[in-house]
């Protein structure tokens, strides 16, 4: 398998009136071509910010540390994403090699421009095709994502489409430039379960067909179980567990991942009580010392959790976890 994108030691802080706020803290992962990665975490865990840095798309007050490195492997060679400065250079990445789908499709389309002209505009921006050819491809893509009567929809505005239809159009638009990597930020959260199931099926088909990498950001572990090959779990800007989807869901190692799974209402056992993860996610202004999860951790082992940052421990070659419970075990064994 060849690597598509490598993220190394990504640390990102935002400059604000209250000082520097750490949003992402020393995160490293890589994604192979054709692989689907699920990125899970609560609001405020830094999952969207991480995904946006892959396109160098964060707000102006974002500060990357010098150690942070993101390498995108394109057909013409590796690109160091964070070193890109000019908008013209970034176009290679934004919408070219990487496309993004957002949570709220209504907010992602310009309301006063037809769906079709938005699709044509971005196709012409990223390639030197003619307008007629761009229209042909756009209609074809709308048809491919299951929109009925695509040539009519092409001339409609976003408000004329239903929520599920809009998200399909969004996917069509994101894929029409044939990106190497698709970032889907909570693409099904705003949709009904029945429509969510349809969109998930569609995305699975498209992965097989276009053979691109996908980063699927969601807080719904059910959606992850249905789509992803591997999972990264984030908490307060830290990547705390990474592994193949079956491993992480059936055999979670980090107390937070275990807590997330236990908090899910299960349909196969209506009598089991709902067990929340105790406490609330701390404010990013008051990041806990040591392990960031220690303030809510039910399995805290002592001062070591409050004082020392846990390091990554490999529980098997593809499954790693950052928790003192496991680093202690490894030291003993």
């Amino acid at each position: 398998m060849t690597s598509l994108i490598d993220v190394e030691n990504l640390t990102l802080k935002f400059r604000t009136d209250e000082g520097l706020i750490t949003a992402v803290d020393n995160v490293s992962f890589s994604l192979n071509k054709g692989e689907v990665m699920g990125l899970v975490g609560e609001s405020g865990s830094g999952k969207s910010v991480t995904a946006k840095s892959l396109m160098h798309l964060n707000a102006r007050n974002a500060v990357y540390t010098p150690e942070s490195k993101i390498t995108l492997h394109t057909d013409t060679g590796p690109v160091d994403v964070l070193s890109l400065k000019k908008p013209s250079e970034m176009q290679v990445v934004r919408g070219g090699a990487i496309s993004m789908i957002f949570q709220e499709p209504m907010a992602s389309f310009a309301p006063a421009i037809t769906i079709g002209s938005q699709m044509v505009e971005q196709l012409m921006l990223h390639s030197d095709m003619s307008k007629a050819k761009a229209k042909e491809i756009s209609v074809e893509m709308l048809d491919r994502v299951g929109i009925s009567d695509p040539s009519k929809r092409f001339d409609q505005y976003a408000f004329e489409l239903s929520g599920g239809m809009r998200q399909r159009a969004m996917i069509a638009m994101a894929l029409s430039t044939k990106p190497k990597l698709l970032i889907a930020d909570e693409p099904t959260t705003a949709l009904d379960v029945t429509i969510q199931a349809q969109v998930i099926d569609l995305m699975k088909d498209l992965v097989d067909e276009f053979h691109m990498g996908i980063i699927f950001i969601t807080h719904d572990l059910g959606v992850i179980a249905q789509t992803a090959d591997k999972v990264c779990v984030m908490y307060l800007g830290k990547l705390i567990e990474e592994g193949p989807v079956r491993e992480v869901i059936r055999n979670p190692k980090h107390p937070y991942t275990q807590g997330l799974l236990a908090a899910l209402p299960r349909l196969d056992d209506l009598d089991s009580p709902l067990t929340p993860v105790p406490g609330d996610i701390p404010s990013p202004l008051e990041r806990p010392s040591g392990c960031v999860f220690h303030t809510r951790c039910p399995q805290i082992i002592g001062d070591v959790c409050r004082r020392d940052l846990p390091t990554d421990t490999k529980v098997d070659p593809t499954h790693r976890v950052a928790c003192h419970l496991h680093s202690a075990k490894e030291a003993q064994g």
């Binding site: 009904d192 029945t194 719904d220 349909l267 993860v277």
Partner: protein, 332 residues
């Protein structure tokens, strides 16, 4: 069986949407719904967006216009006919029936302290006479919702989603209501917090003997909290049953489809479930016959021409489908 607290009888909520006098068109958001909510129960209402579940909830709070049928409230002390409720009686009903909103970020005024937010209903309704009395009521309800005195002095921006939702709950309960409508009250929360708020709602409901109408699109949440569930589609009630029965033996094809659409946590279970095609039709242009026939995998000619009515299936279990008997053995 105890007397129902809320009873809807062929309840219809319609809105006039015709542009001119000649083309008068009525959009029926809720269409002939009959149901009974027993006192002290946790009643779940599920359906996709556009199914009319929120409108039904609001109509039962007298916050949406009831254009047909009737709705009644009876808590033993007073009995109100919601269609004709007005004046002093309506004011009294507002104390007895309250709403918890979906989005705790939008529901709280950023310029008021938490104490003022929770105290506002008491002041507006004139339930307390002195400030000391108000403070006591606020503290009492805040403690029930696990908010401490320190929290009361702060502004909403200092709180996380789960805490904000607890503030919303405290405000809804401070007037001492009997009937509470919780409209998607955990939908905006993270999974780890959602369970906490659900447990709190259940505990409060048991401790204070309240009756909840819990509106949600998330079946797994409903399964864990509600005693009785009603499923809505395009303004119609399609199935209603005690929770356990509904989840063990759903009868309506739509209910079955909703269940199978829930993403399974088992990574080896991918794509096994049969998915519903298409989307919920527009309420202004409703299908003939059974409203669900355009998406139903089992629709026959009868479904297109004649609308089914609710039929008795078992104990408190009713379904509105022509073919439910034939489809018992057919999985979703």
């Amino acid at each position: 069986m105890s007397t129902p607290l809320i009873k809807a009888d062929n309840l219809t909520v319609g809105y006039n949407i015709g542009k001119s006098l000649l083309s008068k068109q009525v959009l029926k958001a809720v269409n002939g719904v009959s149901l009974e909510i027993e006192k002290g129960s946790f009643f779940g209402l599920v359906g996709e967006s556009g199914s009319g579940k929120t409108t039904l909830g609001r109509a039962l709070l007298k916050a949406a216009p009831i254009t047909g049928g009737g709705a009644f409230y009876d808590d033993g002390e007073v009995r109100y006919d919601l269609t004709s409720l007005q004046g002093a009686q309506l004011k009294d009903y507002r104390k007895r029936a309250q709403l918890i909103f979906q989005d705790p970020y939008a529901a709280l005024s950023p310029r008021m302290t938490v104490r003022d937010i929770i105290a506002e209903p008491l002041e507006v309704m004139g339930l307390t006479k002195t400030r000391a009395e108000t403070d006591e009521r606020v503290r009492e309800i805040a403690a029930k919702c696990r908010l401490n005195l320190e929290h009361l002095r702060r502004f909403p921006h200092a709180f996380s989603g789960g805490q904000r939702q607890r503030i919303s709950i405290a405000r809804a309960l401070v007037s001492g209501p009997q009937f509470v409508v919780a409209d998607e009250s955990v939908a905006a929360l993270d999974v780890s917090i959602q369970a906490d708020v659900l447990n709190l709602l259940k505990q409060i409901q048991r401790d204070m003997g309240l009756t909840f109408l819990f509106i949600s699109h998330d079946l797994s949440v409903v399964a864990h909290t509600c005693d009785h569930v009603a499923v809505m589609y395009l303004g119609r009630l399609v199935e209603t049953a005690p929770t356990r029965k509904l989840f063990e033996a759903p009868r309506h094809p739509y209910t079955k489809a909703l269940f199978s659409a829930i993403p399974s946590l088992d990574p080896d279970d991918r794509g096994r479930a049969q998915k519903l095609t298409g989307e919920i039709p527009s309420p202004t242009n409703q299908p003939s016959g059974c409203k669900f026939h355009t998406r139903c995998p089992h629709a026959i000619d009868l479904c297109k021409s004649q609308e089914p009515t609710l039929e008795h299936v078992g104990d408190q279990h009713e379904v509105s489908c022509h073919r439910w008997r034939e489809l018992i053995e057919v999985p979703a």
